[in-house]
Symmetry: C2
Subunit: 202 residues, 2 copies
């Protein structure tokens, strides 16, 4: 079922979840009021939510708690997933200290870096291991996700290591296009590109 959802719909599910969580009141909420609050079309909202197990009722809408539970279930928030971070620079350290991952069932378990001053330290309670030990540590930790925060020049090498170690879901902060084999997914967060897109809008 999950493979049927368009990525654009999948990307909106956390937006609905955050919005529903931000509401104080319980009770029922209609797709129309969700759409108005988020500045989206009502049909789109209904189509997106139909991918989850939530059942809307005519003229009443969705139970807020049921809809939150359905979204959390769909996004795997209750399914614990380990993630590792490559590159313990500013961005890597920020992610290690960030508490919001647990909302999605994600636990950052460790980081890797090649800077001997960082190796052996702890950030946000998580250890920084030597990049050289990556293969061995990845086999021990068995994470499902990895985040690449190394400089652009080192990102492909790190991606190759990850794929060799069987990690096929990579979030990439390095402003470079990573080549991975079929069956692997890379999502890119290029901050500069996002700012450029923003400045081209309106």
């Amino acid at each position: 079922m999950k493979s049927d959802i368009p990525v654009t719909s999948l990307q909106r599910l956390p937006v609905y979840l955050n919005y529903l969580k931000s509401l104080d009141s319980d009770g029922f909420i209609s797709s129309g009021s969700i759409a108005r609050a988020l500045g989206m079309g009502e049909v789109l909202v209904r189509k997106d939510l139909a991918f989850t197990s939530a059942q809307g009722r005519t003229r009443v809408g969705y139970s807020r708690t049921e809809l939150i539970a359905a979204l959390e279930d769909y996004l795997g928030c209750n399914d614990k997933k380990k993630a590792v971070i490559f590159g313990a620079g500013e961005v890597g350290k920020a992610l290690m200290s960030y508490g919001g991952f647990s909302n999605y069932g994600i636990e950052i378990v460790a980081a890797f870096d090649n800077d001997s001053a960082k190796v052996g330290t702890y950030v946000g309670g998580k250890p920084v291991f030597d990049l050289e030990e990556a293969s061995q540590k990845l086999a021990e930790l068995a994470p499902r996700l990895a985040v690449i925060c190394v400089p652009a020049s080192a990102a492909q090498t790190v991606a190759d290591t990850l794929v060799d170690c069987g990690i096929n879901k990579i979030l990439n902060f390095a402003p470079v296009l990573l080549h991975v084999k079929e069956g692997c997914v890379v999502r890119n967060i290029d901050v500069a590109a996002n700012l450029a897109i923003l400045s081209s809008m309106i």
Copy 2:
């Protein structure tokens, strides 16, 4: 013209640009080979590139240098734009030190924070000003873009200040839905949500 482009197409333009820049060879490149390299459909690539001024030639493709120039022109890479950062924590500092913004014509000119230990310091050569002085400094600096990297609880207040000061393009790292008036655009970078999306894929 820019208002006609779908956001999803706009989001792909930096991907094409990064890919074209990563190639060593000059000469011509077809939409088919771009599509294959990026794992996308050829029709989609052609449609996206048609929003720019680049002209592809039958059976030859696009001149790589012309296509790069057209993409850079469309994304405003040659049009200097000032940006400010709110919140000089780990993420904020990483952005202040990051060199990649200039590729898109974006110059980070300052950051704002409410921590007196940070106010008056420089990161990546850029000053950290007191959050209390934001209105006055924003009037002086006249930035076109702002990046919010403050904690979720403070993000809406910062967004209100920005909108009051006439800044209508905001990149938001705080994991919260910001409410802004019509005519303002907010793009969200929710790292945890991105990891959750990734883990729901395949």
